[in-house]
């Protein structure tokens, strides 16, 4: 058994996978790397620039501002969506005919295409004809998301919460349903209060799925583009210009391919780094 069988042609079997991964990940990524170190003036003319684009991007106030907006946005929606999602999951029925009704209702926002979500909220929030906009103005708020930065942020965040809290709910609900019945029985026999059941049974048992929920929501919200693009287009001014919107402006608006490529790589590395950090922190806790 200890003898390894080496077959010279065995690697051929792995080749299709290697090709697939190369075409959908490695080659595109390398193109970006290629652009990020060169200047191009079209006609396939390239000039070596080294790390200049990276330096430029990192020093650019515009980039730093987009990054801050991105981090703030992601932080806020995580702080709202995770607790809200858990709370909704806890209050959903565990058995009976209402389970499927609740699950379908919860899944609905997730099924709507992202640009449709943006368009829906665009109209919904219009101060003159939208239901939300009219209502808020009727209540005496000076609400116009196309003019006020605060109103724009409020709308973008509300839209994201509406769109994505369901994902947290569904994951948390899955975690809750997998808790074996004896835990609830034992807690009843032990005289535990409802709060104690949540604190000592449900939350600890949901930990893994919540870790996944946080990770998914972090990555997705960090890459958010379509909905705010359709809703506010990054405005008013630059106030809702998140990283991805900024990137598209640089790459396709100004056609600055070098800086855009450098931006993409930095963007990618930030997501990779933060995801890795989240993951190790959560898993380290798990082992203790």
């Amino acid at each position: 058994m200890s003898q390894k069988i080496a077959h010279p042609k065995a690697w051929l079997f792995v080749l299709p996978v290697v090709l697939l991964v190369a075409f959908n990940a490695i080659i595109p990524l390398m193109t970006v790397v290629n652009y990020s170190v060169q200047e191009t003036f079209g006609n396939n003319l390239f000039f070596w620039e080294g790390v200049r684009w990276f330096q430029d991007v990192l020093r650019s106030e515009r980039y730093q501002a987009s990054l801050m907006r991105q981090l703030t946005f992601t932080g806020i929606i995580l702080l709202i969506e995770i607790p809200l999602g858990v709370a909704i999951a806890l209050s959903m029925p565990r058995k009976g005919p209402w389970v499927s009704v609740c699950l379908v209702l919860m899944a609905l926002p997730l099924l709507i295409p992202w640009n449709v979500v943006g368009a829906m909220w665009n109209i919904f929030s219009l101060p003159d004809i939208g239901l939300l906009g009219r209502t808020l103005n009727g209540l005496g708020f000076d609400y116009d998301y196309t003019q006020g930065p605060l109103a724009a942020w409020f709308t973008v965040i509300l839209m994201d919460v509406w769109h994505w809290t369901s994902l947290v709910v569904l994951l948390a609900y899955a975690g809750l349903s997998s808790i074996p019945q004896p835990y609830y029985h034992a807690a009843k026999i032990d005289g535990a209060s409802t709060w104690a059941i949540i604190r000592y049974i449900e939350l600890p048992k949901m930990k893994r799925v919540l870790a996944i929920a946080i990770l998914l929501r972090f990555m997705d919200s960090f890459m958010i583009y379509t909905e705010p693009f359709v809703l506010t287009g990054g405005g008013p001014g630059n106030t809702t210009t998140f990283l991805s919107i900024d990137l598209v402006k640089v790459a396709l608006g100004q056609f600055d391919l070098g800086p855009a490529a450098a931006m993409s790589l930095i963007y990618f590395l930030i997501i990779l780094l933060l995801s890795w950090l989240f993951y190790t922190l959560i898993m380290r806790n798990e082992q203790q």
Partner: protein
């Protein structure tokens, strides 16, 4: 503390139970006297756990009543029944230490911290958990986790009863033995009523003073281990308890006398007339059959040695009869004659001992 009675109890998990098969429990009328050590014995799926959950209040019975003393507690929830229950698979609160796990039922009931500490330490000592009191419960082995579950059941003073639902399933055999003796010893010390559910007859017979045998959703017999052994009231008790189980032989009645093929059989069963039309069987345990000069002629088929005694398989016509031969006893070769001890031979009609049916 008080006696626990179940009256005219029926339970079904279906919304609209109809025929017999829909009921998980049927016709349960049973009393558990205060301070008794009971075993609830039966195969998987016979309704033992359902019965236990009804006593603790986790389930509300479809029909019938649960009384603690004279008080009707049928509608009272588990937290107010003052019952401790230990489940088949360990339940621990992962984020808590062993100490906090044990203290949990007491803290929920508002005990003072100094009293809690005394009781936690006593319980931990009983279960050999002292060294691990301040480690997190999550990383422990299944054994240790189940000890914690047991501990949470045993820690509360003055409970009406402690219910054990096959608590030693996940425990390894050696420790199983130790813990079982410990439970028995605890029963003597604290004197609470204990009801121990198991499908293992050894466990039931060693733990309990009174064994309740369940079969197919109903109680077939309740009695001391000796009673169950010597006078099984149902063929199920006969073959479920004892190893090997009771011989069940075909029976015909002619002129009021039972026959096994052409052999007249003397039994303790009276009034065979009442059993007319039912399918009849003769039940006799291997322990109560002996070789003799005369009697039923048999062929000896196989002898297996179990150490303390030998199991002899014999055949009369097409029917196998097992009997036990003690160590040192001579076993005839080929053909022989056997006799049943009339004091321990019974006739069963449709499973129930004739003349001893349940009221």
């Amino acid at each position: 503390m008080s006696k626990i009675s179940l009256k005219a109890m029926k339970h079904s998990y279906l919304a609209e139970p109809g025929e017999d098969a829909d009921w998980a429990l049927r016709d349960i009328d049973i009393e558990w006297s205060d301070g008794g050590a009971y075993a609830l014995l039966g195969p998987s799926g016979c309704g033992k756990t359902t019965l236990l959950n009804i006593i603790s209040g986790l389930l509300r019975p479809t029909r019938g009543k649960v009384l603690f003393g004279d008080e009707d507690v049928t509608e009272v929830g588990p937290e107010r029944r003052n019952i401790a229950q230990v489940f088949q698979f360990p339940v621990v609160y992962d984020t808590m230490t062993v100490y906090d796990n044990l203290a949990f039922p007491l803290r929920n009931r508002g005990f003072a911290e100094p009293d809690i500490e005394i009781r936690v330490r006593q319980t931990a000592q009983m279960l050999d958990l002292e060294e691990r009191l301040f480690t997190k419960a999550a990383g422990l082995t299944a054994d240790a986790k189940q000890k914690i579950s047991l501990g949470r059941g045993l820690i509360r003073p003055d409970v009406n009863a402690i219910l054990f639902d096959e608590p030693l399933t996940v425990i390894d055999p050696h420790l199983k033995w130790v813990l079982r003796s410990k439970l028995k010893e605890l029963h003597r010390q604290i004197g609470s009523t204990m009801i121990y559910v198991t499908h293992d007859q050894t466990e039931a017979l060693t733990f309990a003073d009174q064994v309740v045998v369940m079969h197919d959703g109903t109680v077939v017999q309740s009695g001391t281990p000796i009673e169950l052994f010597e006078a099984p009231r149902h063929t199920f008790v006969g073959h479920f308890i004892g190893s090997p189980g009771m011989n069940l032989l075909p029976c015909q009645v002619k002129n009021g006398v039972p026959y096994f093929f052409k052999n007249k059989i003397k039994t303790v069963s009276k009034s065979l007339a009442s059993a007319k039309g039912a399918s009849l069987q003769i039940g006799v345990r291997p322990e109560f059959i002996a070789f003799s000069e005369k009697g039923i002629p048999v062929q000896i088929v196989k002898v297996s040695d179990t150490g303390r005694y030998r199991i002899v398989e014999t055949r009369h016509e097409d029917t196998m009869i097992k009997l036990l031969a003690m160590e040192g006893q001579e076993i005839p070769q080929g053909g022989a004659h056997i006799q049943f001890d009339p004091a321990f031979t019974r006739i069963y009609a449709d499973g129930w001992a004739v003349g001893e049916e349940r009221a």
